[in-house]
Amino acid sequence: MTVAAGIGYALVALGPSLSLFVSVISRKPFLILTVLSSTLLWLVSLIILSGLWRPFLPLKANVWWPYALLVLTSVCFQEGLRFLFWKVYKRLEDVLDSFADRISRPRLFLTDKLQIALAGGLGHGVAHAVFFCLSLLTPAFGPATFYVERCSKVPFFLISAIIALAFVTIHTFSMVIAFEGYAKGNKVDQVMVPVIHLAAGMLTLVNFASEGCVIGIPLLYLVASLTLVHCGKMVWQRLLESRNQSSASR
């Protein structure tokens, strides 16, 4: 498939993350650090999960429920880890706020907190894309291509990149939803993030069916756009609230 196609697949999977990094994250060093540490944390979580599941591999190829179990346990583990991540962030936020008080500087704005959540989510998304798509992409730079029996219209690498893009979107924006949900104690948001993550994971099982990717991938993008829309709505509401609050407090 050559270098051109290899770069194309990498850009499909991680291009938007790159855009986000360049336009938002790279302006603030703290966000860069957040992305890096988040990526590392989530990569380690995926490695731990693979270590835990290693004795049970390879799974039986012609039944789907072991894979569903795999997805379920992984999602539960990662959601638990997300809560811990938020807890650590909360401590960090308190430290930063008290430091700001000491040197008579303003505390973290809402936008700052949202950006940190976004950076955390971006780290999660990049970790997913690296682990599930980029690690397989080396053969794509060679001359040959590969088609899978069960999704035979599109090359395997392209499908992998498209799915990775959907998950990058889901992870990036659900971290924002989750942080706001934990901060505000909003049960809807708190429950929605694991549900979306689990739904997205289970949707990939649809790809097991012959030509199932024709249904599975659009549904996955539906979930991703739902996440994006909900996050947008939530952020807009919060911004309006904070603006009203700040004008009311004057």
Partner: protein, 705 residues
């Protein structure tokens, strides 16, 4: 609002679960599990198993096949029948029955030849059944060595001469697994994604002589990019000759057979009829005679000689005769003058017809010795109880002896009185002479085994009823062995009134002959059969009866790692059968050395510790009389008028190579690759624009006061 969204999500989730539940029905077909990136690469680049055609050189040029340059050849695959006006070089998929016409067309039509990137030959059993005959050799093989003038005589009627031409592209014969791999890739394309992909074959068959630009034997031997063809012939005498007593030498009856053949594809040459049937008949006769009492009391000495390199300019016989002139160590115990009669066993696998095995005795010239041999053959024929063997003299209208080692013997000494026993009279009955189809078994579809080369397998004798249309018949070989054994006894006892009881006790073991045929002519059990493993540890399971190159310094006591499997097996087998036991003690030998001078160490490979037996069995190197080995390099000697065969010897060498591999894979058209790159860039740019838009909206919303 939030509740509405939750409801929407829960509905979506339920739908998902419902769509997953019926999945168990559709997971019926198997998944090839990919467990790592190397696994993925192996699935992408499918390695195709098969047999290459390699580059051979002679004094004036090259023959055979090779990659045209130093790079891999990558060309899209197309079947020969679909070829129409090709623009760029393609890989042509040719079936066995189309092979002859295809290669003939390549040599005559240069514009067609320029459009060939590579060739894959498919030789499945369904195509083989269509073929009545196929021989890539010449009409009169090795005619330049003929002792008579009629070199236009057509001995080989199915001849096409395609293996003696020079091809500037790689040619690869697909094995059974290779054929299925190629068909699988081609069928996938038809089913699914035909328009923007093409299936290509990648040939990695670069020859060192092409890389170094050495295009004849002299240049390549000088540069060290090739090696001369040859090997190790084996001779053994029954009973052993005591070298010390040089007087009282009995006259020698020499029985000759050859062990090498050739075909278009170097590693797929079994040579069932020509010449392995003759070799197996000789071994069957040796086995029968070894069980006869009183062999040492006969008037003449029996010597058995198995030559190699005969296909490539009678290297074995020429070197053997040369060594006899030099009285070298390799032939200690023999001399030119002591050889009284020569009997060669040629192709004897196709003598069976209508229940009778018929063989023809071709004699070099009319003399008392040849008449004696013919009489002995007749007596042996009559003595066999089954009465289904007939020995006939060859037609006097034949121009002379057929292509055989005796041609070299005659050229060296026109007074040679010798007889060659063949299953044909005026021309070859073997319609697959020197082709990859001269083998034991054409398997039917229901009995197809997977590729044997690297998988371990238990010793499984293929009974003959499994084979459809084998090119030889084992009963013909057994009949020839019986006749030869008794003929040799008669010749050695020099007594025409041999009693029937003595002759009648000479029996060839038919099951031994059948087992040996499956060892030397089939891949299963091949050289891993019990019979061969008893004597040696073979390096390959599939016997390849191509002579190959001669490695290292030629000597009568060569380093055994450089001697081929079949030569080592023959040496051990003949030493065992022709040995006499001295007393009741058998001493063991490690490191292949026996204490007494007339003893040799046999079976040392498989058991690590061999047995010392008294036997006269020696290796004789087989290589061109025009070559000399000096200080690790080969040089070509100038022409010598005393060596008339050396004057016409092409001096064959084989190019060295790094690897011989073929892969097939699917390639996307470059338009598709570029479209993917553009898509990636577009997605990135659109995301960037979207993020900038979101940023400006948020900033505006925050600024609104």
């Amino acid at each position: 609002m939030a509740m509405g969204l939750i409801r929407l999500l829960s509905i979506a989730f339920t739908l998902v679960l419902l769509s997953i539940l019926p999945l168990h029905l559709s997971l019926a077909d198997e998944i090839t599990s990919i467990e790592s990136v190397p696994d993925l690469q192996k699935l992408m680049y499918v390695a195709v198993d098969g047999f290459p055609c390699v580059r051979l050189l002679n004094l004036s040029g090259e023959i055979g096949c090779s990659n045209p340059g130093i790079n891999k050849v990558v060309a899209p695959i197309i079947k020969l029948k679909d070829v129409k006006d090709l623009v760029q070089p393609h890989t042509i998929l040719v079936t066995a029955d189309e092979m002859e016409d295809f290669f003939t067309r390549v040599s005559t039509d240069l514009s067609f030849a320029s459009k060939i990137g590579g060739v894959l030959v498919e030789s499945g059993s369904n195509f083989q059944q269509k073929l009545k005959g196929f021989s890539p050799d010449k009409r009169f093989p090795q005619a330049q060595f003929s002792p008579y003038e009629n070199v236009e005589y057509k001995w080989n009627s199915a001849a096409s001469s395609i293996m003696w031409r020079n091809y500037n592209f790689p040619v690869y014969l697909l094995s059974e697994s290779g054929i299925s791999a190629v068909h699988e890739i081609l069928s996938k394309k038809k089913m699914k994604h035909g328009t923007y992909t093409s299936d290509v074959a990648e040939f990695n068959m670069v020859m060192e002589t092409t890389k170094a630009g050495t295009h004849n034997s002299e240049a390549c031997l000088q540069e060290g990019t090739c090696l001369p063809l040859g090997g190790y012939s084996v001779w053994s005498s029954l009973p052993p000759i005591s070298v010390s007593s040089s007087n009282n030498r009995k006259p020698v009856v020499l029985t000759v057979a050859s062990m090498d053949t050739a075909s278009f594809f170097r590693d797929k040459s079994f040579g069932a009829d020509s010449p392995i049937s003759g070799l197996v008949a000789l071994l069957g006769a040796v086995d029968a005679l070894s069980r006869v009492d009183g062999i040492s009391n006969l008037k003449k000495q029996l010597v058995f000689l198995v030559l190699t390199g005969e296909t490539w300019g009678y290297l074995g016989s020429r070197r053997f005769l040369h060594e006899l002139d030099l009285h070298s160590d390799a032939v200690a115990g023999l001399s030119n003058t002591s050889i009284e009669t020569v009997l060669e066993i040629g192709s004897v696998g196709k003598g069976l017809s209508g229940g009778i095995n018929t063989f023809f005795a071709h004699k070099t010239r009319v003399s008392s010795v040849t008449n004696m041999t013919l009489d002995a053959l007749k007596i042996a024929q009559d003595s066999l109880a089954s009465k289904n063997i007939k020995i006939l003299s060859a037609d006097t209208a034949n121009p002379g002896i057929p292509p055989s080692s005796l041609m070299a013997f005659m050229r060296k000494n026109p007074q040679t009185s010798a007889v060659v026993l063949e299953d044909f009279d005026t021309n070859f009955v073997n319609k697959f002479y020197h082709s990859h189809l001269d083998d034991l078994c054409k398997k039917s579809h229901s009995l197809s085994f997977s590729s044997f080369r690297s998988k371990p397998h238990f010793a499984l004798l293929i009974p003959f009823w499994c084979c459809i249309a084998a090119n030889i018949n084992s009963s013909s070989v057994v009949a020839a062995a019986s006749v030869v054994a008794r003929t040799l006894y008669i010749l050695a006892s020099d007594n025409k009134d041999t009693s029937n009881s003595a002759l009648g006790s000479i029996h060839v073991n038919a099951s031994f002959v059948e087992e040996l045929l499956t060892c030397l002519l089939a891949c299963e059990p091949g050289l891993s059969c019990n019979l061969v493993k008893d004597y040696i540890s073979p390096t390959n399971t599939c016997p390849g009866n191509y002579a190959g190159v001669i490695l290292g310094e030629p000597s009568s006591k060569p380093y055994l790692g450089y001697v081929g499997d079949v030569s080592r097996f023959l040496w051990n087998f003949l030493a065992d059968k022709t040995s006499v036991q001295k007393g009741n003690t058998t001493s063991v030998c490690s490191k292949g050395v026996c204490s007494k001078t007339d003893e040799v160490c046999i079976k040392a490979e498989s058991n690590k510790e061999g047995t010392c037996v008294v036997s006269t069995t020696r290796y004789v190197p087989a290589y061109s009389t025009r070559l000399k080995y000096n200080d690790g390099a080969w040089t070509i000697l100038p022409q010598n008028s005393s060596d008339s065969m050396g004057m016409v010897d092409p001096v064959w060498t084989e190019s060295n190579w790094d690897t011989l591999r073929v892969h097939v894979y699917t390639v996307q058209h470059s338009a598709y690759d570029n479209a993917v790159l553009v898509a990636g860039i577009t997605v990135t740019t659109l995301a960037y624009i979207g993020i900038l838009a979101a940023k400006s909206i948020i900033t505006k919303a925050l600024k609104q006061d």
